[in-house]
């Protein structure tokens, strides 16, 4: 593929990086990233991937845009309230960069559909931008089974965390760190929770960074580490995590043979 003049100009700040160049930019344009959840984390991740010229982006979300989303889900705007999130996300991506092909999946992931969605465009990398434990464990287990690299992240209040899973590399998965969802009743109630709007921006952008580095094959990923960020103290910590031989999905004798649909506690807020 040849770059046209507009593409050379659009991606010029990438192209002049010796670690990217024309070759790297071409890798990005030929790459496919699946973003599950177009909320606080998925919104900035998808937008930066689009701006970077990731050629194919999949968006998965079964929700519609709500006014209370706009405090952090920057891919959606006031005019989009009431619209399907995947549609609103697709429109924003095309406004940012019409080079990007967008595939939308207007559904929440579950044990019946997730493998099919991951395989749909043979995505190179998956970004977990979901907001609940059921989806996080499901995405983890599906990516381990499908040998698909992915970025896990979570945010709450003024805190965020992320890690990267790279298959066949003895890297720990999310379940190596967190065996199973917390018991029902243990999760904080809505009034105790909430999230500072920028948290998704910080952590979701780091997820996009991990995806881009993986596609380019540069630098060191967060495989084997959990990065934590505390916005109140501005402490970033990189905690080394080993593969857990007793892990239920990627351990030596995995107990989990089929994907699990966990129940999520609900909240009306």
């Amino acid at each position: 593929m040849d770059f046209n003049d507009q593409q050379i100009e659009r991606y010029s700040r990438h192209i002049i990086l010796s670690e990217v160049g024309f070759e790297g930019q071409l890798k990005l344009l030929n790459s496919k990233v699946l973003v599950i959840g177009t909320g606080g984390l998925g919104a900035p991740a998808a937008m930066f991937l689009a701006a970077a010229g990731v050629g194919t982006i999949g968006l998965v979300d079964g929700d519609i845009v709500d006014l209370s989303n706009l405090q952090r889900q920057i891919i959606h705007q006031t005019k989009d309230v009431g619209k399907l999130k995947v549609l609103s996300g697709k429109e924003t991506i095309h406004e940012i960069n019409s080079d990007v092909k967008v595939f939308t999946y207007n559904t929440f992931v579950n044990s019946k559909n997730i493998i099919q969605i991951i395989r749909d465009q043979d995505y190179d990398f998956v970004i977990d931008g979901t907001d609940n434990f059921a989806a996080k464990f499901l995405i983890n287990d599906a990516c381990v089974i499908e040998k698909k690299p992915f970025s896990h992240a979570g945010i709450i209040r003024f805190n965020g965390q992320l890690t990267t899973y790279i298959p066949d590399n003895n890297t720990p998965c999310y379940r190596c760190m967190f065996k199973e969802p917390p018991p029902e009743g243990a999760v904080p109630t809505c009034s105790q929770a909430g999230v500072l709007g920028v948290m998704g921006g910080v952590i979701g952008t780091l997820q996009a960074t991990e995806a881009i580095k993986y596609i380019l094959g540069i630098g060191e990923s967060l495989a084997g580490y959990l990065l934590t960020y505390d916005a109140l103290t501005m402490n970033f910590r990189k905690i080394k995590i080993k593969h857990n031989a007793k892990c239920g999905i990627c351990g030596e004798d995995p107990a989990i043979k089929n994907l699990i649909d966990y129940n999520n506690p609900t909240c009306d807020l």
Binding site: G40, N132, G154, I155, I156, P188, A193, V195, G200, T266
Partner: protein, 71 residues
Amino acid sequence: MKIMVNGEGKQLEKEVNILDLLAILHVKMPEMVSVELNGEIVDRDDFSKTMIQENDEIEFLYFMGGGSIGF
């Protein structure tokens, strides 16, 4: 005795198990915490029988969802 918890030095008066440590350090929602001891994840069922020793390095890893429905 001195231990490290999430990168910060802490003093303990005596040897305690992980459940005690979570209580001593006033961890609000221990069910939401995964514990790494000297680089190894400790199974939750082993918290009560795993004793913390001098110079141990402990990481509390917190469950984090997405914030939009509160967890």
